[in-house]
């Protein structure tokens, strides 16, 4: 299922949950793990100065420094790496999202695993007016599925039993569905197909009665059956549900209800992300809130 995994990490506690998932998955699937760290953002015009993301210090980057950082990463993940895991470590300078995508272009992984937010994106070192969050940019443009692990994934110890696939019936969702089915088959999981009926538009004053909502739920269920059930039958077990509410909240609630170990969703290709709409989309909100890893598929 996964032969090459690219794990983009800040090599700080913010990426610890993701690290656990990345290392476990690599072991489980005998995948080659590429540990990738963007150590800092270039600064000072054309000068050689880089602001180190970890120390916040302005440093002159040379081979010695790169070597030092690589050694630090090795030490940080020593408890995983000691077990003879097939891995490589790469370190780069630049804007994280762009460099992760550049690395993905070269390494061609089957999956990118992203660590959690370092929490300091407001830090001036990261500021670039057109930039959205690292996650948003990587999820939008990555050539392969992207898995984000933001909160501790308690049940994710290499095994998976429940996968939730959230759909909005778009073309990209169909791609995400294909992937979810493939995954469920490979991992022998139950797949839960879910659609959240968005009723947030109703807050603006207009109240629809429950009959109408339920009518829409029935319609959505019919749509799920028509669109996905033939493929779902290839699996041992599956379920289909539609709930109404604020979509990302409903997805998170549903995931909790089904003890989902993984959520698969489509990332909608949008134009160059706006600084205002970072973490604005459903996928991003789900990532922030879900108690399990979230995998986004964009193409």
């Amino acid at each position: 299922m996964f032969k090459k995994i690219l794990f983009a990490t800040s090599a700080t506690p913010a990426s610890d949950h993701a690290a656990r998932v990345a290392f476990n998955m690599s072991k489980e699937y005998n995948a080659r793990l590429n540990i990738f760290h963007v150590l800092g953002v270039p600064s000072r015009g054309f000068s050689q100065v880089v602001v180190d993301v970890k120390t916040k210090e302005k440093v002159g980057v040379d081979e010695e420094y790169l070597f030092g950082v690589t050694e630090e990463i090795k030490a940080y993940y020593a408890k995983y790496l000691d077990k003879g895991l097939d891995h490589t470590i790469d370190v780069a300078v630049g804007f994280p999202a762009r460099e992760i995508l550049r690395q993905a272009k070269v390494a061609q992984p089957d999956l990118i695993i992203l660590g959690g937010s370092t929490g300091d994106e407001e830090d001036s070192a990261y500021k670039k007016v057109s930039a959205g969050s690292t996650l948003q940019k990587v999820a939008k443009s990555a050539p392969c599925p992207v898995m984000a692990v933001n909160r501790p994934a308690a049940s994710f110890w290499g095994g998976m039993s429940n996968i939730l696939f959230g759909t909005d019936f778009s073309k990209t969702s169909d791609k995400a569905f294909d992937f979810a089915v493939k995954l469920a088959k490979a991992m022998d999981c139950e797949l839960h197909v879910f659609h959240a009926l968005d009723i947030t538009g109703l807050q603006s004053g207009k109240l629809i009665d429950q009959d109408e909502i339920e009518q829409k739920i029935r319609e959505a269920l019919r749509k799920i059956r028509a669109r996905y059930e033939p493929r779902l039958k290839e699996l041992k077990s599956y379920s289909m549900d539609v709930w109404e509410g604020i979509p990302f909240i409903e997805i998170v609630k549903y995931a909790r209800d089904k003890h989902a170990d993984l959520i698969v969703m489509a990332h909608h290709s949008r134009r160059i992300p706006d600084e205002q709409d970072r973490l604005g989309g459903n996928v991003e909100q789900v990532i922030v809130r879900a108690g399990c890893p979230v995998l986004s598929v964009n193409k």
């Binding site: 000072r44 000068s47 050689q48 002159g60 001036s124 007016v129 778009s170 949008r270």
Partner: protein
């Protein structure tokens, strides 16, 4: 020690030599060696005799020491009106003195001259506008930098920068293959959103040949995508050269005259090879100065013009908006107080103030654009021009230099600064980092992308 291992009079010509210089972190050894670097006084005097022309000699001679240039210099103003920061003093006590002494100056003098040439003047040429005799100190400092470079007295980063141009014909270690590859990659990333988006490489006879700044390729390749998108939406017949794509010239900041010539000739060769109707350069100030204004003279072109008519990005954009090739969605215009940074290199030195103001009129809701004071050709340098931004040794001085721009921006009350110049953009970014005044800053392309109308036939199908 006459010549150091890192600091010497030799030029840096190959990737290996660039790497060697880079391996000396922050140039620590480089500057140590500089303290004992010999001055070849004979060579210095010979160079002056061969290259110091009547204009410079006349300027140095006729300066009346009236001091009118003092108040025109932002570095004089932000450095406590120190008389040693008066432009006339700065040039007379360095270049003037070298000539007066017929090149008989010592190591300490040259190091002092280096500090003045790179930390006390950004070659913004503002003083030249206020001198009753029309003496342009910035031009003379450009010349002095050349003399200093020839003797090995040049800031470490600029020796590297000039070396990059010699080794790669680009200001950073970006090869021609990497340039084309990155541009194609970026276009690929966005072609789903903009069906039909392509980057035509080496197309002959196109209406536009586009040239860039290597930093865009290296660190902000989105800029390339944005340029492609805007040309695409405007329906332009454009191309990029696979060779000669770098418009900038750190060699100019360094005073490496030979590298300046090499660099600009690579761009001119691309123009001659592809015969575009026009060249459009990216949002960079010094790149325009190097390739369009000064370059023709470096390359020895008799008419003082590049081989193809060459315009700045703001000229193309203003034209595209004025002629309706690009249309702005009025609901998406900027509706917050916004100000504009006038880049010295193409506003004061090439008169493009109308172009940028035309653009602002299109993209900003009436009433929200606030001019800095002073503005247009009278505007102050961002504080980081002429190479100042990148020099670690003069960081402290550079940060003081940012104060003028900081105060100008604060006075406007705007929280968004449009800066269509790489150097200005950097300086304003650093200014926020240093002084935290709560502003955002942007090139034009990312702003335009958000508000430009996509013609129906170019919209994605879904």
């Amino acid at each position: 020690m006459p010549e150091g291992i890192y600091c010497n009079k030799q030029t840096v010509n190959t990737p290996e030599e660039v790497n060697k210089l880079l391996s000396d972190t922050s140039g620590n050894l480089y500057y140590q060696e500089m303290e004992v670097l010999d001055v070849d006084t004979d060579l210095l005097w010979k160079t002056i005799q061969n290259t110091c022309k009547s204009r410079t000699r006349t300027w140095l001679e006729i300066c009346a020491h009236c001091g009118m240039c003092a108040d025109s210099c932002f570095l004089y103003e932000v450095n406590g009106r120190n008389p040693k920061q008066v432009p006339a003093y700065k040039i007379q006590s360095t270049l003037g003195e070298i000539i007066k002494r017929k090149g008989q100056v010592d190591n300490a003098f040259m190091r002092h001259a280096m500090r003045v040439a790179w930390a006390e003047c950004t070659c913004c040429n503002r003083c030249g506008m206020y001198c009753p005799h029309g003496i342009d100190t910035g031009i003379m400092f450009g010349y002095l930098r050349g003399l200093l470079y020839g003797q090995g007295f040049v800031p470490w980063e600029l020796k590297i920068g000039a070396g990059m141009h010699r080794a790669y014909r680009a200001q950073m270690d970006v090869t021609d293959e990497e340039f084309v590859d990155t541009f194609e990659w970026m276009v690929e990333e966005y072609e789903e959103d903009y069906p039909g988006l392509t980057v035509p490489v080496d197309k002959e006879g196109a209406d536009i040949m586009y040239t860039v700044n290597a930093r865009e390729v290296k660190h902000y390749p989105e800029d390339l995508a944005e340029a492609a998108i805007l040309f695409h939406l405007a329906g332009e017949n454009w191309t990029v050269p696979s060779k000669g794509w770098e418009q900038t010239s750190l060699a100019m900041f360094a005073g490496d005259w030979a590298a300046c010539k090499m660099q600009v000739e690579s761009v001119y060769a691309a123009m001659e090879r592809l015969t575009p109707k026009r060249m459009v350069g990216t949002e960079c100030g010094h790149a325009h100065r190097a390739t369009v204004i000064e370059g023709p003279y470096w390359a020895g072109r008799k008419d003082g013009q590049p081989p193809a008519p060459s315009i700045h990005y703001v000229e193309w954009l203003a034209e595209a908006l004025n002629t309706g090739k690009l249309k702005i969605d009025p609901s998406k215009r900027i509706k917050e107080p916004v100000t504009l940074q006038d880049s010295c290199n193409y506003i004061r030195n090439h008169g493009l103030k109308k172009a940028t103001r035309d653009i602002m009129a299109h993209i900003v809701e009436p009433g929200f654009f606030i001019e800095m004071a002073p503005n247009k050709e009278h505007n102050y340098c961002c504080g980081g021009g002429g190479g100042f931004n990148g020099i670690g040794k003069f960081r402290k001085e550079r940060n003081i230099a940012l104060i003028k721009k900081r105060d100008q921006i604060l006075e406007t009350g705007a929280k968004l600064v449009v800066a269509p110049c790489h150097n200005c953009w950097d300086a304003i970014r650093d200014l926020e980092e240093e002084y935290e005044i709560g502003i955002r800053w942007s090139f034009l392309k990312p702003l335009l992308i958000k508000m430009v109308v996509i013609p129906d036939h170019l919209k994605p199908k879904e």
